[in-house]
Amino acid sequence: MASKAVKARTGNGWGIAARVVAAIPANYLLTSLATACLARLLPMPTAEATLTATLLSFALLAVIALIAFAVRSVRALWLWMLVAGGVMAGTLWLSIVLGGRL
């Protein structure tokens, strides 16, 4: 199954495992953070913003899963996911601390 080209791209067993973890649990965490951020920050009435973010989340989940297998470097993949997760967690925290909705 795994031809040379695929091996070069997805890496060995560990590389694939790292992508699977990125594509499923880490992806869900990241998407949850993005959904929470959007729900708080979208400039619409609260209920509308919440629903919009929730509807978008499944498209985001799918796209991140594809990206996890499309990018060349597993290292870069994880780096980007961690940075994005950190930024969103910070934004969410700030938004909650500063108050507003909730």
């Binding site: 929470a36 499944f58 899963a65 594809l66």
Partner: protein
Amino acid sequence: MKDSLRQSMALLHTWAGLLFGWLLFAVFATGTAAYFESEITRWMQPEIVGSSDPLTAAEQAVDYLGQTAPDADSWIITLPNSRSATTQLFWSPSEEEGKTYSSAILAPDGKEVSARETSGGYFLYRFHFDLHYMPVIWARYLVGLAAMFMLVAILSGVITHKKIFADFFTLRFGKGQRSWLDAHNVTAVLALPFHLMITFTGLVTLATMYMPWGIAANYTAPQTFFESLFSSAPEVPRTGEKTPLAPVDAMMRQAAAHWDGAMPGSVTITNPGDSSASVTLKSSSEDAIGVRGEVLRFDGASGQLVQPAQAKGPALETESVMIGLHAGRFADWGLRWLYFISGLGGTIMVGSGLVMWTAKRRTRLPDPQRPHFGFRLVERLNIAAIAGLGAGIATYFLANRLLPLGMEQRADWEINSMFLAWSAIGLWGAIRPVRRAWVETLGITAALFLAIVPVDALTTSRGLLASLMAGDWAYVGFDIVMLLLAAGFGFAARKASGAKRSTSARKTYRTPERTPA
């Protein structure tokens, strides 16, 4: 570079598709059947004849509930429409131990149905997201996860097979693996927008369960979110002052005037018989795509309109239309058949994808006589999923006609029969040599579907011929679909019996560029 992207997408497509393929096959098949839920239920209750209009049905329902459950907190009445002849009633709290609500079904004459006990098409509908013999909540998470894998498999499948649209025009019969690939592509492309739509909107139907974090970020209690969206009637305690309910048919006429003549689809009455009673009318799901219909609320004692319809925000409107598109309750006959055929296409797409996994690998096995465990597992699970589910559904319909009418827990036994037949086929498929197993199980399934038509004619007065004479199209349609399914499984069995000779002849024919999955 480009090719290696396609190859890693192929890897993703293959394994994402395989892992949940068997479950997805069952979800697609039963979900497709659910487009004819009302018709299946009618077929499974041959005692119920005639039709009913919403106004009379509402009056009968209020009379029935006034006698049966005058002290309930709420009554929910689902009115008959152009496809169903019965009225469904729910009331809470239930007088039975351990149940939160009680229910009853009224026939067109206003009496509780005396038809055979069955779950009808409703069971197939519920199975497609609640499964069976397991807690509903876990089933829904499992089906949601499978749907997510489906979405990823569809998207990666399109990237994998960049020539998918051009290849749509190639369908090569009798070419083993090639034919499976072509069948997979034709069913995929033909209804690609449908597959994407149905998978995404399926996730949306349970969106707040799968992705609750948007709500968690904005609300301390999820209930606040739902109340602000759906403006449900506030719960008020009974005043204790007995007051008869104002005529519901007058309210329904008023609602119909609001909705360009469309009758309500359901009536909810809280605190019935009390001076605090309230009546909520919801527009019928047949009259608009959006499933979150228009709502009008009336004062139960005076019959005055208290809450006019509220405009929905764009997000709620979008969600409502997405769920509506998934359920297809608005669809009339032409569109309903298109839904059904697209759903069948999806089922065949999943099934052919599963078979292709083995067809593709068989020729490359180190020792084709003794395949490794994983290969054999997939092979046997394919038989259990594809032939097994078919046989199970056919048996469900046969059990409806053959189980004794007065049997204890008859409805449960219809369902148990389905799973018994399914398991039996799975077991048969596991112990027989694999080629024979396919031919035999597909053949049995075809025979079971074929048997439905004569069994129906012998056990009821509404067989194919009688229904044809009476112009009873729901029955005629059901029997014809059974015959077509029999023909389909029979054709598959024939193909499976001839497949052995053709695969070995074409072992060497392989173009790497055209083998994506």
